[in-house]
Amino acid sequence: MIDRDSPVTEEELHAFIDGELPADRKVAVTAWLAGHPEHAALVAAWRAQAEAIRARFGADGNEPVPARLQLDQVMRQGRSSGGSWATFAAAAVVALIVGGGAGWMARGASAQAPTSFDAFTTDALDAHKLYVVEVRHPVEVAGDERAHMTQWLSKRLGSDLRIPDLQSIGLKLIGGRLLPGPTGAAAFYMYEGPSGERFTIYCSKAGVPESAFRFKEGERFAAFYWVDDKIAYAVSGPADRERLEAVTKSVYEQVDKTGARKL
């Protein structure tokens, strides 16, 4: 669209109308456009597009915010129409119970009716307890077969899984295995830190689309739990909240599919 020998590029014309040009180039482009009426017409057309968009939608930003989008409402109820928040609230009661010396049982919510979250957390913690102490056979598939493992576990869970890379925080992927979960197959990955400490991720399809983060600490172990995009996750490790939070953040950033990843 712009002549090859032209001193002004088409990119600059866009930058010109979007206010992205440095002042000296702005002057140059303005002068150049005076001698190039066709391009000046193009720039005028693009400006008119922008004005039409602002004329059509700009006023929508001045409307009073409806009650359901007020922050205190959002905090209190979440999405009332979707029903997911009610499910989440029930699940939140269960939270994540990590027994320390008392054994790995989800007993804390005994007053509540058992839910899928009970089952999930119990399974996740049982798996953690069982396999982190395993020396010779902690996993079925070794960490150097990540691609194969991703494909295999994704297929078995019926969901596109991402196996997080935690090298940047000093954790090496030992490998993973397929386990029975409360609602079908569960994927289980194990990581090891420089001093031999182990972290595991247990994930499986969830009955709700998403939930808040839950944290629970026992004597020896702690875990973060959440549901995102219909997959429930439990990240378990030694009872060091700060460390576990860093691990969880890294895992969350890599598995999240809807945007909070860019933190």
Binding site: E10, E11, H14, A15, D18, E20, L42, A45, W46, Q49, A50, A52, I53, R54, A55, R56, F57, G58, D60, G61, N62, E63, V65, P66, R68, L69, L71, V74, M75, G78, R79, S81, G82, W85, E210, A212, F213, D229, K249, Y252, E253, K257, T258, G259, A260, K262, L263
Partner: protein, 163 residues
């Protein structure tokens, strides 16, 4: 409510505007904004500085993408569109034309254009929101503008203009 909450709150009107332009449906738009807010509040403890506004645009843009993908996976009966040529007159004509023109854009191009011209984000901010290099943002903008111009000039992809 802390600074984070105040920053989120201050962005809500702009998020609604952006969501409406993206979806062209005020109910769907408010659902998107609500989901964005729920997610943002839930993830507050993971937010370590940076621009809250860009972050919210990122979440909303991605939630909308997920929405469009799940719509695409589900076969639906879509209402018959009014495929007539752009209106030539009337007070509402300009608004309807630009809406239809936006609807013809590829999603990433529409997002980029709206973030720049409606929301006033810089190219750099849009690049962060879309997770692509600035050059990609610029080519998306350029393609969007060409496509809109073709549409407004009366050309339609399936139908050549007869002089």
């Amino acid at each position: 409510m802390g600074t984070f909450g105040q920053n989120v709150e201050a962005t809500i009107p702009a998020l609604r505007r952006y969501a409406r332009a993206l979806t062209r449906d005020s109910d769907i738009a408010d659902d998107l904004v609500q989901d964005t807010l729920v997610r943002a509040l839930r993830s507050e403890h993971l937010f370590h500085g940076g621009d809250v506004r860009s972050w919210l645009y990122t979440i909303l843009t991605n939630l909308n993408r997920n929405r469009l993908r799940s719509l695409a996976r589900r076969p639906t009966l879509s209402p018959l569109e009014d495929n007539d040529a752009p209106d030539l007159a009337g007070p509402e004509a300009g608004g309807r034309d630009i809406e239809r023109a936006l609807a013809t854009l590829v999603e990433d191009q529409r997002n980029a254009l709206l973030l720049v011209v409606l929301e006033g984000l810089t190219y750099r901010e849009v690049a962060e929101v879309q997770g692509v290099p600035i050059g990609t943002v610029m080519s998306r903008l350029a393609r969007a503008r060409v496509q809109i111009k073709i549409y407004l000039d009366g050309g339609r992809p399936a139908l050549r203009r007869v002089k």
